[in-house]
Amino acid sequence: MIRDLANPTRFMSFSGTLLPWVTGLAVLLLAVGLYMVWFVAPADYQQGETVKIMYIHVPAAWLSLFFYMIMSASALGNLVWRHPLADVSQKAAAPIGAAFTLICLVTGSLWGKPMWGTYWQWDARLTSMLVMLLIYLGILALWRAIEEPNRAARAVSILTLVGAVNVPIVKFSVDWWNTLHQPASVFRLGGPTIHPSMLVPLLVMAVAFTLIGIGLHLSGIRTEILRRRVRTLTILEAERLDAQAA
C-alpha cells in the first residue's frame, strides 16, 4: 500500500477521499471528549479540577512523540528506500509535532504551578521535552535554510534520525532518573493506574487529538505536493521563456 501511494496523483485521490472522514470523526470525538471532561469526569481527590489540564497535556505529549516517530520513519523512507513522498511527509509532520510539543510544555507548566508550586523545573522529563521542541525548531529552520528540496530533505533526514535518540529519553526519563514529573500512568507494564472515570475521557481526547493530527498531516502532504508541482511548472515556464529569448 505504501508503494501504491508513492504516486502523488494516487495519494491526492486517496487522501482527498479520506480527509473528510478523518475530519468528521475528529470533530465528533473532540465534542464527546470535551463533554466527558467537563460534565462527566470527576475532580481529582488531591488536585481538584486542575486535573482537567491532564486531558489536553497528555494527548499533546503523546502526539509530540508520535509525530517525531512519523518523521523518523519518513527520514528512513527517504534515505534508505528513496520513497518519493517520504520527505513530503516529513516536512508536513514537523510543524504539527512542534505545535503539540509547545502545547505539552506550556500546559505542563500551567499544571505545574498550582500542583508543584513552580512553572518550571530542570528535571529529566521536562528538559528532554524542551530538547524535543528545540530539535523540531532546528528541523523547521533547516527546511527553510536549504532551497533545493532534495538536498534539504537529505539534511533534515539525517538531523531527524540523530534527534530520534531523544525519543526513548523522553519516554523513559521518569524511570531512569528521579524526577519531579510523575512516572507513566497509562502505558505501563502493570496496566493503567488511572481510574476508568478519568481514563476513558483521556483516551477519547487522545484519539481526537490523534485524528486532528493525522488530518493536518494529510492536508500538509497534499499542500506540499501542490507546492512542488507549482515549483516544477515555474521552472518549466522559465526554461520556455529562456528558449524563446535565445
Partner: protein, 51 residues
C-alpha cells in the same frame, strides 16, 4: 491566581494553537491551488515541455 485561571489558560492556548495549525493549512493549500491554476491558465503544464 485561582486554579480556574490555569485550566482556562491551558484550554484557550491549546484551542488557539490548533486553530492556528488548521488556518495555516487551509490558507497555504488555497494559495498553492491558486498558484497552480494561474500557471495552468498561462498554458504551463507538465506536458508543455514536449510542445
Amino acid at each position: 491566581m485561582t486554579h480556574g485561571f490555569f485550566i482556562a489558560f491551558s484550554y484557550i492556548l491549546t484551542a488557539l494553537v490548533i486553530a492556528g495549525l488548521i488556518l495555516r493549512a487551509v490558507v497555504d493549500h488555497r494559495a498553492q491551488l491558486r498558484a497552480l491554476a494561474e500557471l495552468e491558465s498561462r498554458g504551463i503544464g507538465r506536458r508543455s515541455r514536449r510542445g
